[in-house]
Symmetry: D2
Subunit: 352 residues, 4 copies
């Protein structure tokens, strides 16, 4: 049984880790870290866990935690883990970090977009970017630190990845228009996240400045072996869960000057995703909807080719708290420990 510690267990992503791990056969949570609720019963914070979790919330003590557990999930604000991580800790425990601290390889880029100094850049190099479908081969039994991708980024990258990798689209034309449920904004008590402010409303935010932009660019850059600069625009949608990314790019023409056909593009998606349990490329003509993946680890993807404009419209949908956070984190843990990758993640989407 793998012993698990969670730091930030009372945020929404932390809560989802708990929900998922309750049905994981080879892992058990032994540390519910939550600085805000120390000594409070966990179920008093999340009543869904009444009579399920009896533990109390503990402090965020990485040192002590490293002694007691096999893996730590850090569902914490940016900069938290970077400020505390040491070689000693990493020598004792594996860490799956749900924050952005080790996602971006270039420290300057991190510091520019996040506006904070990175306190432990020496661990960035070894951290594996845990986008499982792309990087699972890089996660070995020697891996100590996994940087779990962001919610928008997981959705945005997986939706376009095969086409970038195979060079079907002109990456300079890529535009990602993303829509997210409100749990992505976290559980902090802020006026803009109040029910009455979000309900019956939609808005863009972080236009041309959202922090997930460089993460998407870096990863798609690896895929396409080129520099990628995109527009990424997130929107806040009045729903709890779900991200939908609508992506636009100009298709490269074939040698004869024609556009790739639906079948040709589909074949490229299938090449990468046909064997992937958690990526579902939908039937022709079916648009992904966030509701169809709610509560599950799936990403639903599809595309439409517009002959009039020469562009392809790609769409991807996932549950931001599952594949966009806790689910993928558990998937990474499974890979790290050589378990079946889908253990604990056989979650059937809940509808309606």
């Amino acid at each position: 049984m793998i012993k698990v510690g969670i730091i930030g267990a009372t945020g929404y992503a932390g809560g989802e880790l708990v929900r998922i791990l309750m049905n994981h056969k080879e892992a058990e949570i032994v540390w519910y870290g939550s600085r805000s609720y120390i000594d409070k019963k966990y179920y008093e914070v999340y009543q869904n866990m009444f009579e399920i979790v009896e533990d109390i919330c503990k402090d965020d003590n990485l040192q002590e935690l490293a002694e007691q557990v096999d893996v730590i999930f850090t569902a914490t604000p940016q900069g938290f883990l970077a400020g505390l991580l040491t070689e000693e800790i990493l020598s004792k425990v594996k860490i799956v970090d749900l924050s952005a601290d080790y996602r971006i390889k270039d420290v300057a880029t991190y510091e520019k977009w996040y506006g904070i100094e990175h306190k432990s850049p020496q661990f960035i190099e070894e951290a594996v970017y845990g986008l499982c479908e792309v990087n699972r081969g890089k996660i070995t039994d020697k891996t100590r630190l996994v940087a779990n991708p962001g919610c928008y980024t997981t959705c945005s990258i997986l939706t376009a990845y095969p086409l970038v990798k195979e060079g079907l689209i002109d990456v300079d034309t890529l535009i990602v228009d993303a829509k997210s449920g409100t749990s992505g904004a976290g559980r902090g008590a802020k006026v803009p996240n109040l029910f009455c402010e979000v309900n019956e409303n939609i808005k863009a935010y972080g236009v041309a400045s959202h922090r997930h932009t460089p993460e998407i660019e870096e990863q798609l850059g690896y895929a396409g072996n080129c520099n990628v600069t995109i527009n990424f625009t997130p929107h806040l949608v009045p729903m709890n869960r779900g991200i939908l990314a609508t992506e636009y790019a100009t298709l490269k023409k074939k040698a004869d000057g024609s556009l790739p056909t639906y079948e040709e593009v589909k074949a490229v998606y299938d090449k990468y995703y046909k064997e992937e349990k958690f990526v579902r490329v939908l039937d022709k003509g079916v648009c992904p909807e966030t509701k169809w993946v709610e509560g599950s680890n799936y990403v639903d993807i599809n595309f439409v080719i517009d002959e009039r404009t020469g562009r392809i419209i790609m769409m991807g949908a996932l549950d931001n708290l599952v594949k966009g956070a806790a689910g993928q984190a558990v998937q990474n843990m499974n890979i790290l420990f050589g378990l079946k990758e889908s253990e604990g993640l056989e979650l059937v989407p809940c509808f309606p």
Copy 2:
């Protein structure tokens, strides 16, 4: 492996049966009955099941079904099963009926409240009312027909049951004010159930005439060994899932003229529910919320004693599609076949 057939598999309750049974270790669905979608792939109706269910929808042929399966779930309109059920069918297969056809023992009462003739009253007597926590002892390996309780009724009855059973309240004063999410209204295309009509709105409906009233009265009558006549008022709430019942009754005074204490009432609840996995009596002062049980088979219950009025306010919350329909149906199946009662139902509530 128990072979399962579902009739009405493309309604919301039918869809929830499919979701739950996907993770049931000892049952498999072999017949997805849906007259409206015959020959269509099931996942084309419910895209959450894409790459999970490959079956097509079949006709509602009870005869043929009886030959092929061990148990049939009928998630069908009132009168459907009553119109088709025969001794021959019941001799071959067990049936868990999610409709109201066999819930009410008195045919006249059924016909009055439902406004239709009962076509097979001869089976009413043998049908067991499948409120598991109350009647599991009546479900044996010889039981052929289980009448699965209604969503409002499950919630309303379980919330008051111990107090009626033990005679703590004056049942003539019982008032049930219930609030339900919109999935309870089914998937029929009707104007009052359109998004724009339900959203940002709340209303009562079926005031003093809702069909779940006699069902609650009958069952609480058995508990209290008396006639029970109540007010039951359902309300439509702009959310997908969940029922909250707020119930009011006058507490009987003790011999010394005082009201029972919190501890005394709590002890009565504990007597009936402490060992019940799916009934959670919350800590003092915590009000049940539908969100805390969403997606799970739990009923959360609590109460407040009002010294000023001498009344007790009882509150119960459940997910109308799970404990209020498909979950309890699976629980009944588990009992019918001697399986662990919670098999397939270890569903952790999903929050947020």
Copy 3:
């Protein structure tokens, strides 16, 4: 032109006052008081007012305000006005107080339910309880202080008022089960009011202890000329606006032992409300829905007599920010200044 000052202009009720007064022909706002946003442009807090309101937010200076305006609306927390009000202020300006400070005539009751000391009980006596349809006769040109009723109370009282007044129901049996949209909880940044906590959820709160209870009891007591003790249970509903009160009471039997008929009860409602512009008693069989009054000053009311239990179920719906707060406050202002009572309040409900 009546000069208006608002204290608490950036709360939800304050914002609604601004919205309504924009189209009021005989009043203009000259002071937008908001301690939290002093010197900030009002429209920067509420962007709906962009290019409509150019004013900046000012301090909550009652003294200065009293010099500059004809009427002050205080949409402030309990205790605020009571702590500042003086004879000097009242000698210069009329006040419509949207808080609870002067609603309850008995200081001890106020202090018990609100848990704070009342700092200026000397003004309670002269304050008129501004439930317009009941008390408009008490508001004269000499009235200086109007206690604007609470949102729940306006709905709860008006729904039952004619029957209590005329003695048709046994007031000791009265139970009010109320459901409110989330704007009633105010704009404070609190976790329980976050979108993800409220959405897809319903719960009771303040069970047997909500502060609007004694206010309802007092006013219905005046109507019935008796002591009234009720159960009042508020619920939080995932919608922005709207309150629905479902009320239960035992009908008094007539001399011949029969219940009053629908027509008899309807006649009593009509006696009080037929000429009332803002109270609409719906056609037989139509249940009030909050959506049908949204954005307007209407209260929609109806009832059902249950012959089986001898009870009447009364239902009332209003917009908590309009008739439940700002609309009624403007209605009171209109009465205070001898204007047409509906001036500025000819708001057609917005659907959907």
Copy 4:
């Protein structure tokens, strides 16, 4: 007093026409046309109109209507008006058509995108495309037929219009990603519009094939004096009202190779919109939100220049039933009859 007839008065746009015209000082509705509800009281369909509208619903008789009214609003399905319109009718009455029948000048384009034959193409030429801020000069006292723009199109065009007109963007790069509330889908009873299907969900639809595409292209083509071919992707959002258009285009570089500055672009917006009552270009950095215009005739617009990609991100928000349908229709009526353009439209947005 202008006599108004509405055909399609019981759809959502028709209902909004009624709401708006109730407070219009120079117009009165004398004909509530609704084939589905003939002889039913209008308020029985829309209870918000109880005690406000006493009229019954009448048939859709254009001939008779032309005799009785000064202006007809047709809020009807595509093809309806085109199938009935005659020279005789137009000689007697002005028509503001809220359908698409006369919006597109090229019949072939209309027939291709709408998939129906146009039955009266002879009136297309004279119809004025009623985008008021752009075309008000074309509406004279001789104008008989106004084609009221679509909801998506009004939002999409106005958001980009000044930049296309002044040649600041490369129109071939224009992409419109639009999000709409569900009232845009109408009041038809269809499963995809049920509460449980829309709530907690977001999806794209009509990708690369939505009918508003050619309308946007045609109008922006006039503005830019060039052919325009765009990508337009609508999305369904779980809210009643509101459209947000997020638009992307590459900025043309200035002679010195640099991008236009914020101030330069702002000046272009101001040139066209500074004097426009119903178009609000927000302060720098403020993103439009649909909630801030709800219930009003405003369009809120803003933009961000992304130096990294050389693109401009434009955003526009409106209420699809007001400026996107009924409000603009009334605005057109006001222009047609020489009234103050904002008569009846001084609607303050309702928040929250």
